[in-house]
Symmetry: C2
Subunit: 343 residues, 2 copies
DNA sequence: CTGAAAGCGCTTACAG
DNA sequence: CTGAAAGCGCTTACAG
């Protein structure tokens, strides 16, 4: 069987206390260098690794964080989430934390609370929750464990301070994208959301689109469709738009993946991009530059936000409970799909 | 603070034993329906969730599996890994197992053993390991905990039985892809691997390419390049190929992501696909059909393999230690990039 | 059908 | 500088 700390103690000729102190680098317990080396040697000789369950139970900490993904289905399709997972994982490991991936499959009760209590984690990072989830999340943050929301913020400033958030400002960025199209002379600008607008990130982008239009005295009436994450669904949403009564000369795509479908739908229809329809999208995923028409898109920084979410969470875990809101300036990457590059 | 089983027991007027039996649905302990309901009610009233660390320590099981990714960097770039993560997660949750994501960043000592011992998991799924890792993996499987390797198998049949594996047969599939090109009349077929050939999956595809060539009396001499996962790296690898002395009329791309870069490199050079250069690639990622030239590609089933890996692992965990090797027939999805569809 | 008690392998005041 | 001992919150034979 596996070695225990008692065996290490015996082999080293010390107590289990000393073994624990040495292996955990406890500062104030001035263990002599000689003792320290004996313990280390004994541990190495036995291939000792502490039992994580016993450690957690005794210390009250799991040394783990939970990453909660909205619909695991998203991971299949969109590279955005994968980048979040990867960056959170890296940063967690850098800080000697394990990472558990959770998802909230259940439709009615999202089950965040159960996750928090039974999740063998010390804190939670919740990616792109729904508007409806916010109360439960705030309660968890207050009563159970610290929590950072990735990818969306609450609308009202008043309640925004309940828990920490990181992520791009969807509203402002969407506005930036649509203003760019307006600046290029477009007046009929459609929008295809990348998922249900129950997701805060989705409806924030939609509101940004609308807000930019209104600012310019334009209307989005009849020019909105929703996709369901995949390029296929973007293709279909664009077809619905084409079949609609309203004409349009530009599309603000909810994200790059959906934009791939939009490009194909337009092309199949014989329309040229950007000549007949200009496109601006969102995310700057790794393939955006390799699309059939290289995508003009909002570059966000999911990796940065992911790492920052971990750091904020660790800060909370170490006692600083002041909520923190991390934003980074996104910007538009101009490629071919918007038509701007041709002067 | 959080409720404990003692509090639930007290509120329900029973012992902690009974609470444990009811909450864990222990079969043979014929708890009366009345008692059962009392316990459930008390647990619900207190919002009781068992402490996972205590459960693990007492039961000796973590109810968790570890998913070990080769280089976490891959996740940033290639959608293939994301599909594996998603499917493994789904299947794990279906079986009430938690999922920890691990990675093996360290170059020299991969650290699988440490992961296994300190990983608070009951078993491991290891994705695309390197050839060098196999001995350590076999040892873990034998001495520490069951383990399933995803995405590659050992070359020799003799040692293949040491641990279970799932994944597509890279060698055979690569051969299939290259034979298809040969069948279309191509005689100078280049290959661009998607990563270092230290990865078993990479060098298996390369061997498949070579084997198909040799079978047809062709040579691959001077026609091999390696990318590093990204579309950009595929672009550059293709440029190197174009600068080389050997001419070629077709490319077998190591995966779809790399193929996106290859398409752009060829197009930028004024070459037409498939007229001047035909392409067949590997994976059938969600965007393969939306590439500038829709990709003819090997369709594998990462989600199926991911789910199967979990099921095999659970089977091992429940005592059946017979190694299992799961393969599925892959096939070629014909789209435009190979030229076959134009008859 | 149910309870008292040992035990899982650590950590951590506390005492020396 | 180091050790004896309590305790973390469960599970699980065992006894009744």
């Amino acid at each position: 069987m596996r070695a225990t700390s008692a065996q290490v103690a015996k082999l080293a000729g010390v107590s289990r206390t000393t073994v624990s102190f040495v292996l955990n680098d406890v500062e104030k317990s001035g263990i002599s260098q000689a003792t320290r080396e004996k313990v280390l040697a004994a541990a190495a000789q036995l291939g000792y690794e502490p039992n994580a369950a016993a450690q957690s139970l005794a210390s009250g900490s799991f040394a783990s964080i939970g990453l909660v993904l909205p619909e695991i289905h998203h991971l299949y399709i969109d590279s955005f989430l994968a980048r979040v997972v990867a960056s959170v994982l890296e940063e967690a490991h850098l800080n000697n934390m394990k990472l558990l991936i959770e998802s909230t499959a259940d439709e009615q009760t999202r089950g965040y609370t159960k996750l928090a209590k039974g999740g063998r984690v010390d804190g939670l990072i919740v990616v792109n929750p729904r508007e409806n989830d916010y109360d439960e999340l705030a309660q968890i943050n207050q009563q159970i464990m610290p929590l950072v929301v990735f990818g969306s913020q609450r609308r009202s400033a008043e309640t925004a301070s309940e828990f920490s958030t990181t992520g791009s400002n969807n509203f402002i960025n969407a506005k930036l994208a649509v203003r760019h199209l307006i600046g290029l002379g477009h007046a009929r600008i459609a929008h295809i959301g990348f998922a249900s607008s129950a997701f805060v990130s989705v409806n924030s982008r939609e509101r940004g689109w609308l807000s930019a239009l209104e600012e310019a005295g334009l209307s989005g009436e009849g020019l909105k469709e929703s996709a369901e994450l995949s390029a296929e669904s973007g293709y279909e949403a664009c077809q619905r738009l084409l079949r609609g009564k309203k004409s349009f000369s530009a599309i603000f795509a909810g994200n790059d993946t959906v934009a791939f479908g939009i490009i194909k739908a337009l092309t199949d229809q014989g329309l040229r991009i950007p000549d007949d329809v200009a496109i601006v999208s969102y995310d700057d995923t790794p393939l955006a530059a390799f699309a059939p028409v290289p995508l003009t898109t909002i570059k966000t920084f999911p990796e940065e936000h992911g790492r920052k979410a971990v750091r904020i969470l660790l800060d909370h875990l170490s006692g600083n409970l002041e909520p923190h809101h991390h934003r980074m300036d996104s910007h538009l990457i101009i490629r071919d799909s918007c038509g701007a590059s041709r002067g």
